[in-house]
């Protein structure tokens, strides 16, 4: 039996639905010794911004029960650095390259970065990261004036964000942004959503209405961890993003909610570490999946998961991955 693993995300046709999550796979070259990169369905880059970013003050990560917190702060070489140093390497791998983009300067900067990527045909798609909890978001600054108790950490020389409101926490802001970017590019647009919301399906709908080709979810959940010995936060930025198996049930639930609300393909992610966790995401409605934190534990996790999906389909006599998508029996 031949199993069909190909899936479509907007204009993009993937040989298989196993991708990597932005920020957990660098620019792919870091992993070349550990797996045949050309077997991946697609590669999503670390999020880039128009200008280089040096990222947040360390310590930037810590381990938590079945997960980890990170506040990298989008350290990246900037668009030009990416195009010169990273894209040529990515291009050679021969699988679709999805470039994750964020902005430090509002909608205009998003549009500028995306427009510049238009010229590169090796950029297969763009993922709009409007859900990073680890940078100050200028787009939403009008939404949340700083009020209430002044945190004592504000006195320290650490980066403490005045504004942690994300674009993807507001349906209107999401709609506006995606709409503007949509006008600027014909490339496949994926909007990456935050789980730090009351109703994620509402945000997904805003992205769909604004012309996004797909949504990816979830980005990290905001969390915090304290070292009781030193009474200090384990991550310098105090609040950080939680990822790994700990967040999986939340992610699966959100994929299911979004699947019922919109028609766009969903790229599901959050705590996938093995075949069965990947399958949960397809059954909940994902067209493709992203492997994130698992890459740190086993750099070849994607390949084992891909193999596992193939065997599962074969064993259950399913000849097309499409038949699995949203197959949850309720």
């Amino acid at each position: 039996m031949i199993t069909n693993l190909t899936v479509n995300i907007g204009k993009l046709k993937l040989e298989n639905p196993v991708m990597v999550c932005s920020g957990t796979f660098g620019y792919a070259g870091e992993f070349k010794d550990f797996l045949p990169l050309k077997k991946l369905g697609a590669i999503v880059t670390k999020t880039i911004t128009l200008n280089p970013r040096q990222g947040n003050f360390p310590p930037r990560t810590c381990e938590t029960p079945a997960g980890m917190l990170n506040s990298i702060g989008l350290e990246n070489p900037g668009l030009a650095g990416f195009l010169n140093e990273k894209l040529p390497i990515l291009k050679k791998i021969g699988v679709p390259v999805i470039v994750s983009v964020a902005s430090e300067g509002g909608i205009a900067e998003f549009v500028k970065a995306v427009s510049e990527l238009n010229d590169f045909k090796e950029v297969a798609a763009i993922e709009l990261n409007i859900s990073c909890p680890n940078i100050e978001s200028p787009v939403t600054s009008h939404l949340s004036p700083v009020t209430g108790r002044q945190s004592p950490v504000a006195c320290r020389r650490l980066p403490v964000f005045k504004n942690r409101r994300l674009i993807s926490q507001d349906p209107q802001a999401t709609y506006q942004l995606v709409k503007q970017v949509r006008k600027a590019t014909k490339k496949t647009l994926i909007t990456k959503l935050s789980p730090n919301v009351t109703d994620i399906s509402e945000i997904a709908l805003a992205a769909e209405n604004a012309g996004s080709d797909a949504v990816s979810l979830i980005n990290t959940l905001m969390g915090m961890s304290i070292d009781t010995k030193t009474m200090k936060p384990k991550v310098a930025a105090v609040i950080a993003g939680l990822s790994g198996p700990a967040i999986r049930p939340v992610a699966v639930r959100m994929v299911w909610e979004v699947y019922q609300k919109i028609k766009l393909p969903i790229i599901g992610m959050g705590g996938i570490i093995d075949t069965s966790s990947a399958l949960e995401f397809f059954l909940a409605g994902s067209t493709a999946i992203g492997v994130g934190t698992a890459n740190f534990i086993d750099p070849a996790a994607t390949i084992s998961i891909l193999q596992g999906i193939k065997s599962y389909l074969r064993k259950n006599r399913i000849n097309n991955i499409a038949k699995l998508i949203g197959g949850l029996k309720v």
Binding site: G26, E30, D33, P58, R60, N70, T293, N295, F296, I297
Partner: protein
């Protein structure tokens, strides 16, 4: 870089909380250089989730030895692993010590270890002794006599060992960096010496200051919490004169004058 399932040959308690781990990993053993490290999955389940970085302590043909202290959950679980079991290990990782520079050295290479910092420095001393016939001068600092380790191993390599303990139970009473300062003050010709150091952060900071004061180049091995260990996640950075650098990739060994210590607590 390799990812291997390495068989544990021995995982032996050598002191109260110190363990000596020997694994069979020919690929890694064939490539590992002093100052490089391995990233080890200590369990086969989610507890703990992430790998644990350990320096390469010794290398023989097919085997790699590590020396580690049990400090928390991960190292505790590792200490329970038995000979015959397998560990998923990635390595060799990072940039080790640049031992090309002391080739013209008149004064012996100076190795400065604090606590578990002896682990990678023994491999360096071994390497310098065998490939370059250098007998290193080794300064070891520990809290107390019972926590001193590897003294004999260094001596067997022909190294001269100087000891400092916080409580004075053996050798100089005080910090190893102070012992180093005293030594350098008393030594006339310090030109072309190089310091190689590994240990707790405050000690490395002190060594860096000594390096600047006495104009002796120093290479220091830093630690930071790591997630991937292969340069992908940007988690384990240190502030340098040319921006943040990844300890797992550009490091763990850095030139002391590259590190920006201002924001250190």
């Amino acid at each position: 870089m390799f990812q291997v399932k390495a068989k544990i040959i021995q995982n032996k308690q050598v002191k109260k909380n110190f363990f000596h781990l020997l694994v069979d990993a020919p690929e890694i053993a064939g490539k590992a250089l002093p100052g490089q490290f391995l990233n080890i999955k200590v369990s086969d389940n989610l507890e703990p989730l992430l790998r644990r970085p350990l320096g390469v302590h010794r290398v023989s043909k097919n085997n790699i030895a590590m020396l580690y202290e049990v400090v928390g959950n991960g190292t505790q679980i590792l200490s329970q692993r038995k000979a015959g079991e397998y560990l998923d290990i990635i390595g060799p990782l990072g940039n080790g010590f640049d031992y090309q520079s002391p080739v013209t050295c008149h004064l012996s290479p100076v190795l400065v270890a604090g606590g578990m910092g002896v682990a990678p420095l023994l491999f360096l001393a071994d390497f310098l002794a065998h490939s370059k016939s250098f007998k290193s001068l080794v300064f070891i600092g520990a809290k107390t006599k019972s926590q001193l380790t590897c003294v004999q191993e260094f001596r067997e390599l022909g190294c001269k060992v100087k000891i400092a303990t916080d409580d004075g139970s053996m050798g100089f009473k005080g910090r190893v960096s102070d012992l180093l300062t005293h030594f350098l003050q008393a030594t006339g010709d310090r030109r072309q010496a190089t310091i190689f150091s590994c240990g707790p952060r405050p000690m490395l900071k002190a060594v860096s200051e000594i390096s600047r004061k006495f104009k002796i180049p120093a290479q220091i091995s830093l630690e930071e919490h790591m997630s991937c260990g292969i340069g992908a996640c940007m988690g384990c950075v240190v502030q340098t004169t040319s921006g943040y650098k990844r300890i797992c990739k550009e490091g763990p060994v850095f030139h002391a004058d590259e590190i920006v210590w201002e924001r250190e607590k």
